[in-house]
Symmetry: D2
């Protein structure tokens, strides 16, 4: 109930603070016989890892994951899979100096308002570091989806207003901004570098496409698949908007244009367009599920900002340290992970109807 | 798990099909001593009710709610509050004719894919009628929020591209499109009427502002208040996008511009701007919570559409009957209700920290 | 969270007070295609109904159940099944007189301590009447179990110290105390009649045997099948002890005697004895599940008792009205229902592993 | 849903196999500001630890607990508390030899039936070792209860038929069988030693008394406090019966004798007797909560037993290795832990009503 668990059948609980001893995840509900080893998980952790390139934070988190339980000789046994990532290369000194200030755009004030106490070291649990545990759990979810032929592809649709026009999925992982349109890479990188130079930060838009997902996933009414995905994606700290299919544009379309006509292809019911984004009445249609998330610019900037101290005085704060001027490329595996966890949960639930 | 319950402490379970005997809601977790009577609930049901004006469906649902339990002499006792609304004025004949067809934009196909069976009468549980039970439960939630000085104001921000510029909350309920900008009412109505005449439908954008909500609501990580609100709002059938605060625009702002500077006012920590929409790190700041939802155009239109039959033939369908060409004004109380349920849940959870 | 829901996949929520308008149950998770009509449910309600014979309360509750949703032409559609039972023949006058007193053995004091308010009419939600909603939901659960060949048989093992020695299942429903040993019926009835005459009450022991349940039901660790059954059975108001298999006698057995030896019969793994009661490590073995519940004597007795008033004075109370001097026979369908709900939940969960 | 989590507000998730890398627990919902360090937890772990005396298993589990998160300078911050216990002194060779056999009284067969795979090393997750994680979480729960003046005292009521008559709480922890009646210690020890010599095992009865718990804990209907405690206690592997208050004897008492008369003492409502065991209508009365659990004899015995192999042949098995002939004294902290977790959950939930 305190918000650190997600999912019903594939149920993930995470723990850990940025500068504590470790972070990790326990997954209850991993199907027995699923092949699983640390390499499967490490791959996605490396995609999220800082220090991948000059444009992201130089903190050298190796994020080495250890499977503590639930796996025997590379195969899941049906008992909880515990994943542990020790925190290394931790230095809280930069935080010590500003721990009496509420940083704008950060959760310092709200955590204090809620708990009356906060772990100020590296933002504690409110740190983006917490998402490494999600990525680890998401990698296990992806293994379940894989068996059903479901794959997720996440990429940068936009950074600081520069938008990918072409969508070539084969090029995403080869450039540091994860753009599917390589022609836009240098412009995106430039905007990030400009922001860094002036002690500022920029945001963008992530798009994730889910392919291979058959019809019938999701529950009606409150747990519509799109509602679950919105919950999952909006739970990632930096996300300020969630769209499915035509998204916000749906508000300006007519019904005759928005409705996706059904037709038959290869014996399967399909739709000619996909404005609905692969979900009708909260249940998957079998078409691709297309989701977008708007990512705000990171809160930690070197530019001086006016703020207040924990004892109520107005002050100025400069946030130094190792901070990304843009987290869009690194947040992609996190959003993929949250969507994979949600979908794996639905896939397992669906088995009860078969 | 099957998706018909929402909330943890203030837990709502709904039931009922459009053309079945009744719809309703059970609320577990209503605080004892809350004053509660049927009139409190009826008021919001009347706001959602069809047939309020010429621009909405002529179906005359009186939606009379009956409190079956949990209340003694106008006061809640702490036991479940059961709310019942009998279905009246039901005529399934228009549905009988097209029950062998999957209507585009409707859940006919996906329900069949999931359950292997569907209640075709008036769209069954996939009907918008289901939301009357949410509105009833939401009215109870609003009573809890009221005691804490929290109020929600929902209105039409946009219909068919016509956008309200002025936001005068006092004018919302006096015009049939629930626009806070009365100067735009006739334009909005015209767009709806035009759509109706050509057998088509239009969408729009709803905005809801929550005022009076102190800091500290919401849980970190997976149950961030914005994630819970996104889940709640996206679970309303017609919603295709969810935004909080600056929303999608956050993707194009710099950090120095997006971050809301803290200051002190009357001894309280406040922010000068509210790009974050009243939530930081998933926890309320005490500023207004501002949410927007994009509403797609209704799926039921008279214009002929190509589709497929339940036995796999391609056909043409015309959906006749009593259907709104625009549901934006009527969906406002539904979105308010879902947000109120979410917030009441958080308010009750917060008591555990006090 | 407030305690009025039970089950995960087959999730039952009940509502209603003894002298309120109605009681009922919503079941989310009823599998689509399950044949279901009101007669299926009425049969078990009639077994629980008071006024079946001279030894039980003369209150004439017809307990007529109405299915409000989730069923189309006698078949479940996968949406919530709402069951409604209107309260009739209600007279609160006997309660009015003693509403300022905490009746010994009743929940008057504890409800007041918890909620600061209580519905004193017919004991409100703390009344045994609440269990009619459980029986209704249990009847639906039994339909699911039936399809898997699982059947429950509940009977009176003991009343007021008189114990059934013979267990002839075919005779249970033909005698008013539901004894499987007809030779003991008149003795049991005599004990009950003696208690009634002196304004007192008596208890007993119920045993339920579950047959046809294959191996593999239940979850390990916290949700062991025996733990879930204990939760289910102990949630019935009058139950003071729960045993499985050898039960309390297991404490006095040696391991060599308690351990049930495995053998093979018809290709199936079986055990020669069943001290474990059909469950090992929390998971069903495929042998019969054997459960016993100790039922305390009813709290409502005419004998004067010392007690205190709601304003703290010591007083004497006599509880008149229509009360059973022994509820053992009537509690059997309630315990069966709770076990059936638990088992149906496990049966549906198991599908995820198949 | 897969059974490895317990509790709603104080929510415990455990993981780990007997011979895996580690076991542990994540607790979500630990109240901020709770003083917490590893020593608090270690104390109870040491009470559960094997090798405490000649009568228990010589396996030298040091069970050193490490707090990984949720605590800053000895104080809980409100985020999840992760507890890790590495497995040491592990030797799976004795299990290797019999891994093709289903040991009678063990979960080998049922885990295989459920999952199609099992971790045979040291019984895997079905090992009693799993309970160390519960004891660690229970120690945190006890800290919460302490603040409210609630304390649990567990002891051996009976071993192999030898029953403690005197209940001197001050003597429990000073004797190796945890008997509150020191006059019975040598007899109890003798029975255990006799069992060990003949390659057999014995059971017993544990009683736990909860003092200082005010009125109003627990929820009505399905989550009655006694039902939750039954769930908690029966989820401990070796428990075959659960009693509250008069327990099974309630079945043979008359109502006039069973009902606990109310009276006033020091302005507080109290009862003169406590047959109900401190709970009425599922809600605590403020009197001591008295619970008993029947513990079966351990399944691992050296006496040859008939059984079947995983490929369906009938065989004989002798279970060698380091096994307790009686686990009653060691299971006491486990039962206390499960009850403490349950009560802490209720204590936190109750805050919502205050």
């Amino acid at each position: 109930m305190a918000g650190n668990s997600f999912g019903k059948v594939f149920a993930v609980t995470t723990f850990g603070e940025s500068h504590g001893k470790a972070i990790g995840a326990i997954i209850d509900g991993v199907p027995p016989h699923l092949a699983l080893d640390e390499k499967d998980i490490q791959k996605d952790l490396d995609r999220r890892r800082p220090g991948q390139s000059g444009i992201s934070t130089p903190r050298d988190e190796r994020d080495k994951v250890e499977i503590l339980s639930g796996v025997l000789k590379g195969v899941a046994t049906g008992t909880p899979v515990a994943l542990l990532i020790r925190n290394e290369d931790v230095d809280s000194s930069a935080y010590e100096e500003i721990k009496h200030l509420y940083r704008p755009g950060h959760a310092d004030y709200t955590y204090t308002a809620k708990y009356g106490i906060r772990d100020w070291r590296g933002s504690g649990r409110a740190s983006g570091r917490e998402t490494a545990a999600r990525v680890a759990a998401g990698a296990v979810a992806k293994k379940i989806l894989q068996k059903d032929g479901i794959r997720l592809t996440g990429y940068t649709l936009e950074i600081a207003g520069v938008r990918a026009e072409k969508k070539d999925f084969s090029r995403i992982e080869e450039n540091i901004v994860r753009s599917p349109d390589v022609a836009k890479v240098s412009q995106m990188v430039d905007r990030i570098e400009e922001a860094r130079k002036r002690g500022d930060s920029v945001g963008g838009i992530v798009e994730v496409v889910v392919e291979g997902c058959g019809p019938g996933l999701g529950e009606p009414v409150f747990d519509k698949l799109d509602a679950l995905l919105a919950h999952a994606v909006m739970s990632v700290g930096a996300v300020k908007a969630f769209e499915i299919g035509a998204g916000i544009n749906a508000a300006r379309m007519s019904g005759s244009c928005f409705n996706d006509p059904f037709f038959i292809e290869g014996g399967r019911v399909r739709t000619r367009t996909n404005n609905t984004g692969g979900i009708l009445g909260g249940i998957s249609t079998g078409e691709s599920i297309v989701v977008r998330a708007a990512i705000r610019p990171p809160a930690s900037i070197e530019t001086p900002q006016t703020t207040v101290s924990t004892d109520g005085r107005e002050e100025t704060v400069e946030v130094h340290g190792r901070h990304d001027p843009c987290i869009v490329p690194r947040v992609i595996p996190v959003i993929e992970a949250m969507m994979a966890i949600t979908l794996a949960d639905c896939v397992l639930m669906k088995k009860m109807y078969d």
